[in-house]
Each structure stands twice: as structure tokens, then as C-alpha cells.
């Protein structure tokens, strides 16, 4: 009798320690799969800052430089093309540095490295559509199709965000869809191209960033 009880006690203790291990194993497997394939330190603040920079940039482009093409190949005053190219480049660089800065500080807080196998994959996946779009836009501008530049940049940026979803928080895919829609709308209504551009790169980024911040970082 005593033997049976002891036996039972030993068995159930074993059972209990094992139960704990099994679920722990599963959660560790899940966490490793996620950490090794997804860069999760992308900060909501990056979206908010990129959006603010884009809004400022589009305001400058439309109201200071006077860039607001009404047709696919508009006649621009001397110097406008140069000014808008410089502005676009600055906006892109500022938004990119803001994203890297905020994500780096979030990675540090989470104890992750910003440069790892997952972020490398993320970069490659986003770079291919982004560089393709950049080259296409350059060619279009050289051929005088200046009105297509803003909507095309939305479309290719949206595609690259959609790709990025596999290697970072999956919500960026929705942001990608929104950019693609704004881009297609911009191609359809060329004279509203800059408004859609401000809506996609500006407002949509800020909305996305706020949502991510409230949901995951607060």
C-alpha cells in the first residue's frame, strides 16, 4: 500500500514537472521562430515621424516650390524639377534616418540587435521593389512623365511594405495596401497626385504609427 502511494507520488511529481517542460518547450520554439525570422523592433514612432516629415515635405513642394502637376507630362518652370528632386531626396533620407533611429532605440530596450539575420532579410525584401520603383521613376521623369512620379512612388513603396510583412510586424502589410490604393488613385486622378501623396506618405504613416504605438509600446 505504502509502496503504491509513494509510487503514485513519484509518478505524479514527474508528470507535473514534465507538463511544465512541454509547454515551455513549445513557447520557446515559437519565440525562437519569431525572433529569428522577424525584426520586431520597428517602432510606431518611426511611422509617426516619417509621416510628419512627409507632410512637411509635400507642403514645401506644393506651396513653396509650386510643384503640383496637373497632367502626366506638365511643362514645369525652369529649376522646379531640380528643386523637387532635392526635396524628395531630403524627405526620403530624413524619414529613413528617423525610422532607423527610433527602431534602434527600441531594439536596445528590447535587448535585440538591430543588425541581425531577420533585419537583413527585411532590408533585402524591401530593397528590391523600392530600387525598381526608384529606377522606373527616374526613367519616367527623364521622359517627361513627371506627373507619374508621386503616384508611382506610392505604389512601389506599398509593394515593398507588403513584402516587408513577412519579416517584421505583419501590420505593415495593411499600410502597404493603403499606399498602393493611394498610388493607383493618384495615377487615375493625376491633378490630385500630390494630395494622395500627402495622404499616403503623410497621414497614413501617422495613423499607422499611432496605432502601433498605442497597441504595442505604451
Amino acid at each position: 500500500m505504502t509502496e503504491t502511494i509513494i509510487n503514485f507520488a513519484v509518478k505524479s511529481t514527474l508528470h507535473m514537472t514534465k507538463r511544465k517542460d512541454y509547454s515551455k518547450d513549445i513557447s520557446e520554439i515559437r519565440s525562437m521562430m519569431e525572433r529569428s525570422s522577424k525584426f520586431l523592433a520597428l517602432s510606431g514612432w518611426a511611422g509617426i515621424m516619417a509621416g510628419i516629415i512627409a507632410l512637411a515635405g509635400s507642403y514645401y513642394a506644393v506651396y513653396i516650390i509650386g510643384f503640383n502637376p496637373g497632367e502626366v507630362s506638365p511643362h514645369l518652370p525652369e529649376g522646379t524639377l531640380y528643386n523637387i528632386t532635392v526635396t524628395a531626396f531630403l524627405v526620403f533620407m530624413l524619414a529613413l534616418s528617423a525610422s532607423v533611429m527610433f527602431s534602434r532605440s527600441r531594439a536596445k530596450r528590447k535587448g535585440e540587435k538591430i543588425w541581425n539575420a531577420a533585419s537583413r532579410q527585411l532590408l533585402i525584401q524591401t530593397a528590391v521593389p523600392l530600387v525598381t520603383g526608384g529606377i522606373l521613376i527616374t526613367i519616367s521623369i527623364l521622359k517627361g512623365l513627371i506627373g507619374l512620379a508621386a503616384p508611382l512612388s506610392l505604389i512601389f513603396y506599398g509593394l515593398s511594405l507588403f513584402n516587408a510583412g513577412k519579416h517584421t510586424v505583419s501590420e505593415v502589410q495593411y499600410l502597404g495596401f493603403v499606399q498602393i490604393l493611394f498610388g493607383l488613385a493618384g495615377v487615375t486622378f493625376i491633378h490630385l497626385g500630390m494630395i494622395f501623396w500627402a495622404g499616403g506618405f503623410g497621414a497614413a504613416h501617422i495613423a499607422y504609427g499611432l496605432y502601433m504605438y498605442i497597441r504595442y509600446e505604451r
Binding site: H15, K18, R19, Y22, S23, D25, I26, E28, I29, M32, M33, R35, S36, S37, K113, N116, A117, Q121
Partner: protein, 99 residues
């Protein structure tokens, strides 16, 4: 019960080995340093677990050169993938049986 425990793979009892298999299940290839960063273990520790998994033919090494620098990458074999999936299934069954 006994039959089920048979599916749990002894090779995956170590957390490091389980981690290596998990990381390689979702990445086509990973180099030594990436694995080391994800698992937060020492060189020697990781190397010995990699060797054990290689011996079972669950993972294999691919050696190439980037310029003059040797580049060693690891990937999961079909056998390793199967064994890992069976291990996962067994873990899930054990948990559901205990509920």
C-alpha cells in the same frame, strides 16, 4: 502513452538544440554568428550542439567564400525537418493529453 513518448526525440531535449532546429525551420540558411546571437550561447557550446545535430544528419553545413573570407552556413535537412515536426506533434499531443 508509451507509444507517444517514443515520438519525443531525445536529440531535442537540450534547449540549445531545440533553438537551433526552430531557427533553421523558419530560415533557409543561417551562419554561425547569427545562430549564436539568437541563442545567446558561447562559441564552444553552440559548436558542440551543432556537431551533435550534424552527426544525426538533421542539419548540414554549406561552406563557401565571400571574397577570401570563409562563410559557413547551416541548413536543415529533410530528415531533420521531419524529426522536428514529429517532435512538435508529440509535444502538442502530450500537452493536450494532460489537460
Amino acid at each position: 502513452m508509451k507509444g507517444l513518448i517514443g515520438h519525443l526525440n531525445k536529440s531535442f531535449e537540450s534547449r540549445v538544440r531545440l533553438g537551433i532546429m526552430s531557427a533553421l525551420a523558419v530560415n533557409d540558411k543561417l551562419d554561425f554568428n547569427s545562430l549564436k546571437d539568437f541563442l545567446e550561447v558561447t562559441d564552444g557550446n553552440l559548436a558542440s550542439h551543432i556537431k551533435a545535430l550534424e552527426k544525426e544528419d538533421f542539419i548540414r553545413v554549406e561552406k563557401s567564400f565571400i571574397g577570401k573570407k570563409p562563410n559557413t552556413k547551416y541548413f536543415q535537412t529533410a530528415k531533420g525537418r521531419k524529426a522536428f515536426e514529429n517532435h512538435l506533434k508529440a509535444l502538442e499531443e502530450m500537452i493536450s493529453l494532460q489537460k
